[in-house]
Subunit: 454 residues, 2 copies
């Protein structure tokens, strides 16, 4: 039997983007989305703000509800339905209806695998303790919130100083807790240039967060109820009521792997720029898949909501018979760390050197607005460039005012291959409330050129 059905495995960012795009392009084709959990299309990035009660209701994090997908978008969305296996030959998925507890088969003509990622579980005994959490899914967020409301923890230890760890530090400080971050290496947010990293460390310090870098957790000390009450590190001990591990994620590739789909060197599902896997009728998108890195010119594993949404849309569009290409990523990200935005795009210096670039970096600090206009704040900008050509390879910024979008200006410059000489003379808009007459971006480019390029 020749079915004409697009099946999407996974209903969070990439999955629902794929299902929506597919249905939009071919409204007459049946589109089924299978999500093993209860929630679809929610913003994991919003969980820290739900936990701090900046966002009052977890349902506010849901962009489009299951009902809307079904009724307005015409997608056959099945929540609590888990795909157990994929048969690429017969074009069938085996599905477990978790509520009814029965299993059925579903034929597909095109399949989109958007199984996402799961939080990496540090190999420490006691990770299963009732006061130890990982924060990845909305379900995780609800569990943490339940614990906070029941138990009113006063002392938090966060494992990991990536952007999630930093955001959670703000969350827990906002709730009045004593907060420690334990980070194995000395890196913050995948490694920042020293002057940028220092500003972030200063801000954490000013906000009363205890940051312990180059510190390894050796064990958890538990009480009679099995709860972790003390985190033992190679530097000492930290008393604790709640532990959250935020040490990265890994792609959910098991289903794909068993179906014979190629996994890339990064450990995520390999695709081409149409988001097709090695099996042409099977697409993959989002946190389970690789993303082409435009500067490194190779696939990378860079799971972020922006990428997941774009890839999902492209996978769905192509599964529905259109042709759209994903040009790739350059590693842009931003986090709010208390009063600072910390943003980065492109390569870090070490990453650039390790990848064979003759790279150098320079850092400046400048004001965000005209010197006489109220509310001007310092912005620190590191530029990483190819010393030979002057081409911008990366940027890192931190500041309080207009930092994220300045990062995007530099992301756009990197994408188009601009040199710092070209960036120095960009015609950026100016008015005293928004920037000095020479925007910090122009100052950064000029200083970098003077020091490094000619």
């Amino acid at each position: 039997m020749d079915t004409n059905r697009i099946v999407v495995v996974g209903g969070v960012a990439a999955g629902m983007s794929a299902a929506s795009a597919a249905k939009r392009i071919t409204p007459d084709t049946e589109v089924v989305a299978l999500e093993r959990g209860e929630f679809v299309s929610y913003a994991s990035c919003g969980i820290p703000y739900y936990l701090s009660e900046v966002v009052k209701d977890h349902l506010n994090l849901v962009a489009v509800t299951a009902e809307e997908f079904r009724e307005k978008r015409g997608i056959d969305l099945r929540t609590m339905h888990e795909v157990k296996s994929i048969d690429a030959e017969k074009k069938i998925v085996e599905v477990l209806d978790r509520e009814a507890d029965n299993t059925y088969e579903l034929e597909w003509s095109k399949l989109v695998i958007a199984t996402g990622a799961r939080a990496f579980r540090p190999p420490i005994e006691g990770m299963d303790a009732p006061n130890v959490f990982m924060v990845h899914s909305l379900q995780d967020g609800l569990r943490v919130m339940g614990f906070i409301r029941d138990r009113n923890p006063q002392r938090a230890v966060i494992l990991g100083a990536g952007y999630v760890g930093l955001e959670l530090a703000e969350t827990f400080r906002a709730r009045g807790m004593v907060v420690s971050i334990v980070q194995r290496s000395d890196r913050i947010m995948r490694g920042l240039e020293p002057e940028v990293g220092e500003k972030v460390v200063e801000e954490l310090d000013r906000q009363g967060v205890i940051l312990q870098r180059n510190t390894a957790v050796k064990s958890f000390e538990r009480n009679n109820g099995g709860e972790v009450k003390r985190v033992i590190t190679d530097k000492g001990e930290i008393e604790v009521d709640i532990v959250v591990a935020a040490v990265g994620v890994k792609p959910n590739t098991e289903l794909a792997q068993k179906a014979g789909i190629e996994i890339g060197k990064t450990g995520a599902i390999a695709t081409n720029d149409r988001m097709q896997t090695c099996i042409p009728d099977i697409y993959s998108a989002g946190d389970c898949a690789e993303a082409w890195h435009r500067i490194l010119e190779r696939p990378e594993y860079a799971p972020l909501g922006t990428t997941a949404n774009k890839q999902g849309r492209i996978a769905g569009t192509n599964a529905a018979g259109s042709d759209e290409r994903f040009p790739g990523v350059i590693g842009s990200m931003v986090a709010k760390v208390f009063d600072l935005a910390v943003a980065r795009t492109g390569l870090g210096l070490k990453e650039a050197i390790d990848s064979g670039f003759d790279a150098a970096s320079n850092t400046i600090t400048a004001r965000s607005r005209a010197h006489y206009y109220p509310g001007a704040k310092p912005i620190t900008i590191s530029l990483i460039l190819d010393s030979k050509t002057g081409r911008l390879l990366g940027a890192q910024l931190t500041g309080a005012d207009g930092t994220a979008k300045r990062n995007d200006v530099l992301a756009t410059a990197i994408t188009s291959g601009m040199t710092i000489g070209e960036i120095e003379y960009l015609d950026l808009c100016y008015a005293p409330p928004y920037s000095p007459v020479y925007d910090p971006i122009l100052v950064a480019a000029r200083q970098a050129r003077k020091k490094l390029h000619k």
Copy 2:
């Protein structure tokens, strides 16, 4: 006698940038800067904020004082010295020392003309009344402030709805005045796309500003003291205590013209990309000079502080024997209009069509932040593109949150020749406090592509 002296005519933005750059590059060369007024290196763009007392002291608008130029930068800066003529053959300027009231000659090896612009004076009888002002120089600003403090005017009429007129409307409303803007055409800020312009009109209305477009001033009615008490338009009459004309500027080219220097079609001084005039030892920069327009590929007259500073630096650098090129402008500007930023870059639709592009535009409104994050505001973005190639030609944005820097992202995209298809997949950074997962820029590009390009 063969002198080695760089003389700069004019001491505001371009002039002092040129003098500073020249001295930095050749510290042993004598650099003389001649400024006819009292103030140097001040920010005219800050005058509206001085008049609203957001900036308390007019001296705060001075970036670098005359003493600092003399003592720290080693520039022979002569304020109240007016150049009366330039002899390009003999390489001499004739200078009037306005305080001593004597005239002297000064030899130069290289000359930089940075005579700036002056406010355009509308041809209305009564423009010389004691309560009618133009706001261009810091001296103008002081005069307006003196009048406000002495006379406490309650009703203001602003002639012109360009960015200065709009900024002054906010200034005068902040002082509690009844404010009318009278604009001859229906254009605001050089003409905005209808949906963008409408947002600005709504904001003016919400803030109690009476905007009269398509309205021509016919005459002023004056009282016995010679003050204008009523502005007579072709639509009616407006009672008034203070009138400010902000209907644009024109370049001060008289000195250059008399010296035989070529004036471009725009009416401003013509230069090459090294900021050299037709006489190679004479440079020109800033509001008296043309600027190369990178999209129109011809010189334009676009007097703005950003351009003046860059051109001045390049003129000074080259006068000192270096080689630096000005790549040109694309027409980026932004103004704060009460709670909105209004920004634009590149060509407007009409300008694009008039210049021979097969141009079209599309407008969207989207949220500035994740829907669940507090402080999200609408941003309206118009994109103007070449329908044939999809290349972005221009953008106009208005909103309350992150608008100016989003304009700069699009300015960077325009500069690099990006198509909207490329912009749609830019890897912009995302966190809920700074943008939705699809930044409004990406939404605008996608919608424009869907509607206009394919």
